[in-house]
């Protein structure tokens, strides 16, 4: 690419330098030239406004209204109630506030565990598949399948597998292996959190695997050779070469995975069908239930805004800490 562009650029530059008399003639092109970057940016800016900024502003506005079924047809009739929605949903002494807090802790545990396991699986698979061997391509493709499947189809299959009476999981555990005497429930009660976690890790780890595999391509083989000559074993090489070299990838990967998992709606919605059991009541589902199922879009928006603020703070703190650490290292 560099060579092909070098030639025409050189041609163009030549007359420019040689004939200063033509300069004024180029003036009229000037403003258009300076407009071009903005024109090129415009679609992206319009999209950014339409997709992100405007809905966010509308969401904040909604959270200040008593937007119930009486007003959804014409928002202008919804009474402005200021912080009332926040007060009602974030009041930890009320039933709604307690449930929101419970749901927050469930979501936090879910996100941390899901991201942790997904990363562990991802890094293990990426390291194992780093060196070429027969069948590596097949394994790579196989590992990526969960990520390539449509969420809905994949998760609904899980929900069939996890049914108590007709599901494959209980069939294998109870009927074939005889590990358990009672058929456990997987989609209701205490086990539902574990079920949700397994499905989530299953869905997310290929992404971690993909990113880490790409990151490993940039680690020079010479480093390993040098480490090997110095007598470093597998674990030492992993700790002192692989992980430090993957740091930039990990920084982004962990943040992105955390945000995705924290906001995950599809997995619990499809797995539990709209109303998740309280042990697995993720915050996204909770907000959906509060706004769509009980027709109270104002308090749903208030919860969403609170969630947004929390995630902003977490992301900002994460970036600050990781950046500072990088500066310290440098």
């Amino acid at each position: 690419m560099a060579t092909s562009t070098a030639a025409p650029d050189a041609d163009r530059r030549e007359p420019r330098a040689g004939s200063p008399a033509r300069k004024p003639a180029r003036r009229p092109h000037g403003p258009r030239r300076s407009l071009l970057p903005y024109l090129l940016l415009a679609p992206a800016v319009v999209l950014e406004l339409a997709v992100h900024v405007i809905p966010m502003v509308v969401g904040v506005w909604m959270s200040l209204l008593e937007l119930t079924q009486f007003h959804i047809r014409d928002w202008s009739t919804a009474p402005f109630i200021g912080w009332e929605n926040y007060r009602a949903t974030l009041d930890l002494n009320s039933a709604a506030g307690k449930e929101l807090l419970h749901s927050f802790w469930v979501t936090l545990a879910y996100s941390v565990l899901s991201v942790g396991f997904a990363w562990l699986l991802g890094i293990s698979a990426a390291v194992v598949l780093q060196r070429p061997f027969r069948g590596r391509a097949i394994l790579r493709a196989l590992f990526l399948t969960p990520y390539a499947l449509p969420v809905y189809a994949a998760v609904i299959t899980w929900s069939f597998l996890l049914q108590r009476d007709t599901g494959l999981v209980n069939h294998v555990l109870v009927d074939q292996l005889g590990l358990l005497d009672e058929r456990p429930f997987w989609l209701i009660g205490d086990n539902s959190f574990a079920s949700l976690l397994v499905v989530s890790v299953w869905r997310n780890w290929p992404f971690a695997f993909l990113c880490l595999m790409a990151g490993l391509q940039n680690v020079s083989g010479e480093l390993y050779e040098a480490a090997a000559i110095d007598g470093a074993g597998f674990w030492r090489r992993l700790r002192s070469v692989t992980l430090p070299m993957l740091r930039p990838v990990n920084l982004v990967l962990l943040l992105v995975l955390f945000l995705w998992t924290f906001n995950d709606f599809n997995t619990p919605y499809v797995l539990f069908g709209g109303s998740a059991p309280e042990q697995a009541d993720l915050i996204s589902i909770h907000i959906y239930r509060s706004s769509f199922k009980t027709w109270d879009f104002g308090s749903g928006s208030a919860m969403s805004v609170a969630l947004l603020l929390f995630l902003l703070i977490v992301s900002a703190a994460y970036l600050l800490i990781t950046n500072r650490r990088r500066d310290d290292h440098a």
Binding site: L47, F70, R73, A95, Q163, R183, G189
Partner: protein
């Protein structure tokens, strides 16, 4: 590709994307007076089956009026959300089916055409409509927000062979008998009663009936929720106890939300089922009509003071027209067509429900055991669910609380008066 080309290419892609984003707002209501969009609810065994049943009628309507109706059958799990979205955006279908219990809730959005006397006249007149069905089409004292289309009520379906094998000669008429019979029937991997435990709407319907029998109400006369009264606690506990205490319901039923309880009844895994118009559904699951009996839903043997003789809600499907329609006349003539004697007879016969108009009940199909039982219940012992704007919220909150109680019962946690009351109090606090 040079950097400039890349830039232009990117800009073009983004521009194209933004254009498609602008152009993607389809799903608009019919602009031409010659077309209508109709969202039908899922009445038959599948969405596809409903389409097959309704399409010939829509063709007939097009022949008569020249108006082409585009139909979409919406599953029950999505219908209320879709209606809500249509009401909020002012976009979507012209004519819709709604569960009649949502009438007052949807009416409160102001998105539905009011059926005042003149409008009712335009669709055939108020006097034709069965009064009980019309009472479940909107808040009292206001013009109805919809017109009744199919009428239904709960019945007790029982497996004749299972009853005979267990030596039970007649279907139970009280809950106490039902529990006793259920215990005799719950043997060898089979169960007495099938329950759709994870379906909030089904749960809420039973919550209403049991509460009425215990003398409870879910809303007071001012429309304020009264969820955790002692009557309601007893009512909910009675229903959950079929699984928790009597153990006549398979614990697995706690995760049923896709009509698996009907399948269990059809396959003989459970001997009793409380359902609305299950006949057509059972037929498609290969259970012949002579294999099961249909009886009224039982009552309490000794009802407490204030207990009402109610054993079903007035169930049914209503037809509503969105105010945003650009073809109101066409929409109303479609409603008139669907509530005409001919269509009422034909469609209700197919779905095993009852006509919502008095003039269409003469067909012999409506005097079969199941239909006669529904008819009698509707006339004598059915009551409409509270027609208040918060009704759909009640269904969600109380129905979900019951789902959680079933989950407790299934996993062996005790279900007590206190735990039921706690759930109902929580649900009530979420109303506002």
């Amino acid at each position: 590709m040079s950097r400039r080309h890349l830039g232009i290419f990117t800009a073009a892609v983004l521009a194209a994307a933004s254009l498609t984003a602008c152009g993607g707002s389809g799903d608009d209501s019919a602009a031409s007076p010659k077309t209508l969009t109709y969202w039908a609810s899922n009445q038959g065994p599948s969405l596809e089956a409903d389409k097959t049943i309704l399409q010939p009628e829509l063709d007939k309507f097009e022949k008569q009026t020249g108006i082409k109706v585009t139909i979409e059958v919406v599953p029950w799990s999505d219908l209320l959300n879709r209606l809500l979205a249509a009401a909020a955006s002012g976009k979507g279908p012209d004519v819709v089916n709604i569960g009649n219990t949502w009438s007052a809730s949807l009416q409160a959005t102001g998105a539905l055409v009011e059926f005042d006397d003149a409008t009712l006249q335009a669709v055939g007149g108020k006097d034709r409509i069965v009064p009980a069905a019309l009472a479940a089409a909107g808040a009292p004292g206001k013009p109805p927000a919809a017109v009744p289309l199919y009428s239904m009520a709960y019945s007790l379906y029982y497996n004749k062979k299972a009853f005979a094998d267990a030596g039970i000669t007649a279907p139970p008429t009280t809950w106490e008998q039902l529990a006793e019979d259920g215990k005799k029937l719950s043997t060898g991997g089979k169960w007495g009663l099938a329950i759709e435990g994870a379906n909030p709407s089904e749960n809420a319907h039973h919550a209403f009936t049991f509460s009425q029998q215990y003398g409870g109400e879910w809303f007071d006369s001012a429309g304020k929720p009264t969820f955790d009264t002692p009557q309601n606690v007893s009512a909910i506990k009675r229903y959950i106890d079929f699984m928790a205490a009597d153990k006549i319901t398979n614990p697995s039923n706690a995760e049923y939300a896709q009509n698996q309880s009907v399948s269990d009844f059809a396959n003989g895994k459970a001997a009793m089922l409380l359902w609305q118009s299950a006949g057509s559904n059972l037929k498609t699951q290969n259970m012949p009509a002579d294999a099961y009996g249909v009886a009224p839903v039982p009552f309490l043997a000794s009802p407490p003071a204030g207990g009402k003789k109610v054993n079903s809600m007035v169930a049914g499907i209503n037809m509503a027209v969105f105010k945003h329609t650009k073809n109101k006349d066409g929409a109303l003539s479609f409603v008139k067509f669907m509530t005409s004697d001919e269509e009422q007879t034909l469609l209700n016969k197919t779905y095993g429900s009852l006509p919502a108009v008095k003039t269409a009940g003469a067909d012999p199909a409506f005097s079969a055991t199941e239909q006669k039982n529904i008819q009698e219940t509707l006339v004598t012992t059915a009551a409409p669910l509270p027609q208040v704007p918060e009704e759909s919220t009640f269904e969600t909150l109380v129905g979900t609380a019951m789902k959680e109680l079933f989950a407790d019962a299934a996993s062996g946690k005790p279900v007590t008066e206190a735990s039921v009351k706690a759930k109902l109090t929580d649900a009530q606090q979420k109303m506002r």
